[in-house]
Subunit: 542 residues, 2 copies
């Protein structure tokens, strides 16, 4: 397998070629239900992945759809990759033809990607049923396509689709595929658990045997259908694989792929194996969330290492122990992966949680047991009514300050408001809102229209308050979530709104609960502005 | 460990005592961020878990909070368990006291639960730092509490907290805890990876060694902080553990616990080990979703085996192969776990996906290539505008029927509508909506108020249409979701609303997209009613 040209190419990359972290978010990840990436999205994600320091970024299948073709053209023009090499994905040539004349293969070369991953069948049944050719012709297709692309100066990896099932059905043929691939000049042979049905001991045994029998450089591509993709990937590494294919946040077809983040975290923190550039791991949480934003899928709050809840403690027993030493209930220091420990405020939380949360916010409640008890009671009451302070830190801080300072911070007071939304016969919409409010002793009546009723309310509030509080101009609503909660009686339901707001330096969340989406939004907006003014150091007016 | 009384008790249960499926959703699962269970919720979940056939249901910590105390009282009165035994969770007695005089221990007995799980420290550092006692006193606390509860006729399991870290720090002490526990009469010693930092090979090695050295019956309790809780649980079983602690949907502290569903599915389908009553596995998807409804956490669409996306195929390559044989891209038949294969309609989907989806809906498009092409184009256009048909089957079916039948099904036509929401100075809200519409050649003007503007719109529509379409009375809005989508230019945003509607026989989802939450809701409602009337067999009027 000594391929001097390719080794030299790889040396140009900042990442060691001895172990490959190969990301396929832009190809396999994009096949997740609910993900629909534009070319601009793909370019943004490629930049994040390169920042994070993966060795290879599989960008898509050039030629298979115009978006992927455009991505390769623009990525090479617009991005200066620091760490990663760009990889094009494609298939072996059609049966009984020549790779050099195959249009699909030509599109791979035309992409300009220095590395090409070819998908090849390695399960005899798939060759016959899906590819509809002979086992020998499949080997010929692999050999011809790999050696043609190598001859054109590209580094070639081969994804052996359905390898594990194929190996169990016909080990001799599966190994013949591996040998053919290597002999034709491919650099890494990736064993794929395409339908995701394997468990770690099976993966480990098969990888070890294939490695011993063929001597090929092996990679692993695991799908998560048994919930074991991360463990399967690590099991393959244990057995000698030196190339792991993953996707950011585990996005992928069906259940998803091996999640890049817990895989690299395990390799770096548990195996003490350096697989990312210095300092990259501490960026992991940020990168994970940024990619979730781009793909427009709500980031899983409970993702290992990077989830908002990954180091969030709720049980009273845990909170008491953490007061003594945070390491007692954490397997790593959250800062190693750029995450933070959080104490959750919920009605399960006892006094220890509220005290720690106060400390996190810079409000020491340590001595005042009566005060802490009062806060615990108010949280329990409000959560019973549908509020959630776990997800609304700013609303909790306002509640806490109200109790410690003896009164609520009030910059303005609402008298009433009205929102009108109208669908006109010509199909256009009108949104008009009027608010009546008081600030600094004056009564204000303001009217605004907007893009939807919440936006119109937001604007009317700004129109009314801007001369009193110019700081409000810097605040921006960045996220808006609605949840319908069932009441005690199923005919009544309550609406909970969570709003995220940012200024130039940070972001905070507030909550509102009402029988009415607009009233709930209004409450959350009220808290959001009050907190924004508090952050800006503005003194309350009333 | 031969305990004739306990064995007899266990024989009364329908589940084999040789292998324990132990569920702790109601105790450890309730510690997930965002979960807040009422006693009624806990009773409902206990019924689902018993239906599913787990052997043990850990209901909470009686005495630690009034909700859990009430749960045990009511569960024993209100539920006739078919399969499961109820388990109370608690701690060993306080240092330097007597178990028989410990109020916390008394509360465990008072719960009436036939089985008690005690949490015990097995990591020397935790004994000293968190428990603040000596290593010997910790052993005395375990021995005294276990033997006291055994003397009171209860079966006792012991959770060894932080066992794996403890074993690595001080294996002799960790094993002394196991031996003390068994000698005092505990039936199962559960090795807990409390901070979730372990990987499968470590779990397997330590379980195997402890089993060989102590001969105790071992269980496993794995947290998911490395993303390996399912694999860690199975690794412990591989090493000889015969008791697995899991939670429904993997709910739990921080990242969560080992997910019950992929664990039992692996044991039954991959290990061919019968751990559930006959027929239970086929109820798994239903039970998983039902529990998610009760805890009011959106069910993870990408959960292994039971997720809505678990057998959903999007890539064109997969769709083509599945047209030949569904087994080519699925590791099991989805029906084995009560799930179904779905073809996703998205702009990545090619013709094969649309054809298969049509077939799923009973609309054969096989021959008409021009029609299929038209549908693919419309889907691509609409998804670009923010619609998602993956999550709105009913809206997709209406689109498909419009194309195949040459015109849209129209039961009514909206001329215009207006919604007014008012917050009065006394804090109450008024929601008033007027709709102007046409049905069966007549113009209708209807006004209604409601609980929020969407509800008022829904009511006005019903008021206006009920004499024309009495079938609408049966329709009920069961879920409502809102998502803010960023437009091409970040200042413009689009609102997407998904509505789920049910009649007496089923449930369907529809989508609306607009610059305005009320307008988007209106579109989704329009589709929801149109589809409901179509389902009811009503002929279109216009």
């Amino acid at each position: 397998m000594g391929e001097p040209d390719l080794r030299k190419q790889a040396e140009a990359s900042s990442v060691d070629d001895d172990f490959h972290v190969f990301d396929t978010t832009l190809r396999d990840g994009a096949q997740r239900e609910g993900i629909n990436l534009t070319v601009a999205d793909k370019l943004t994600i490629a930049r994040y992945l390169d920042d994070f320091g993966v060795g290879f970024i599989e960008g898509g299948w050039p030629g298979a759809n115009p978006r992927d073709t455009e991505f390769f053209a623009r990525a090479q023009q617009e991005i200066t990759f620091e760490h990663a090499q760009l990889v094009a994905f494609g298939a072996t040539r059609r049966p009984h033809s020549k790779a050099s004349e195959d249009l699909q293969v030509k599109a791979l070369l035309d992409s300009g990607a220095p590395v090409i991953t070819l998908v090849a069948k390695s399960h005899d049944r798939h060759v016959e049923l899906a590819l509809r050719t002979t086992l020998d012709e499949n080997l010929a297709m692999i050999a011809d396509t790999v050696s043609y692309l190598r001859g054109q100066g590209r580094r070639v990896f081969v994804d052996c689709e359905h390898f594990f099932d194929g190996y169990r059905a016909n080990p001799a043929y599966a190994k013949a595929v591996v040998r053919t691939t290597v002999e034709a000049g491919a650099d890494v042979v990736i064993l794929c658990d395409t339908n995701g049905g394997m468990l770690p001991p099976q993966v480990q045994a098969i990888v070890a045997t294939v490695l011993a029998d063929t001597g090929a450089r092996l990679g692993i591509h695991a799908q998560d259908d048994t919930g074991c993709a991360v463990a399967n990937t690590l099991a393959a590494v244990d057995a000698g694989a030196t190339h792991v294919q993953c996707t950011a946040n585990g996005y992928g077809e069906r259940v998803g792929n091996a999640n890049l983040f817990p895989v690299v975290a395990a390799l770096e923190l548990k195996y003490a194996k350096k697989v990312l550039p210095e300092g990259a791991l501490a960026e992991m949480t940020r990168i994970s969330h940024a990619i979730a934003e781009v793909v427009n899928v709500t980031a899983s709050t409970h993702q290992p290492y990077v989830g908002v809840s990954a180091f969030a403690h709720k049980a009273g027993l845990h909170a008491s122990a953490i007061k003594i030493d945070p390491d007692l209930y954490q397997h790593i220091d959250p800062q190693q992966v750029g995450n933070t420990m959080r104490m959750l405020v919920s009605d399960m939380a006892g006094r220890a949680s509220i005290e720690l949360k106060g400390k996190e916010l810079g409000i020491d409640l340590g001595d005042d047991r009566e005060l802490v008890g009062r806060v615990v009671r108010r949280v329990k009451e409000r959560e019973l009514a549908g509020y959630t302070y776990e997800a609304a830190d700013a609303s909790f801080e306002l509640l806490l300050r109200e109790e410690t300072e003896g009164r609520a911070r009030r910059y303005f007071r609402i008298e009433s408001w009205r929102a009108i939304v109208e669908d006109r016969p010509d199909g256009t919409h009108a949104n008009e809102t009027t608010v009546k409010l008081w600030a600094k002793g004056e009564r204000i009546v303001a009217t605004a229209d907007g893009n939807g009723p919440i936006n119109a309310l937001d604007r009317a509030l700004r129109v009314g308050l801007e001369s009193f509080y110019p700081e409000l101009a810097k605040l921006e609503l960045v996220d808006y979530k609605v949840r319908i909660l069932e009441g005690e009686h199923s005919t009544e339901s309550t609406t909970r709104v969570l709003i995220s707001t940012s200024d130039s330096t940070g972001e905070w969340s507030t909550v509102g609960v009402a029988d009415n989406i607009i009233a709930a939004s209004w409450q959350a907006l009220d808290d959001a502005y009050t907190y924004g003014l508090l952050r800006a150091g503005v003194e309350p007016a009333e």
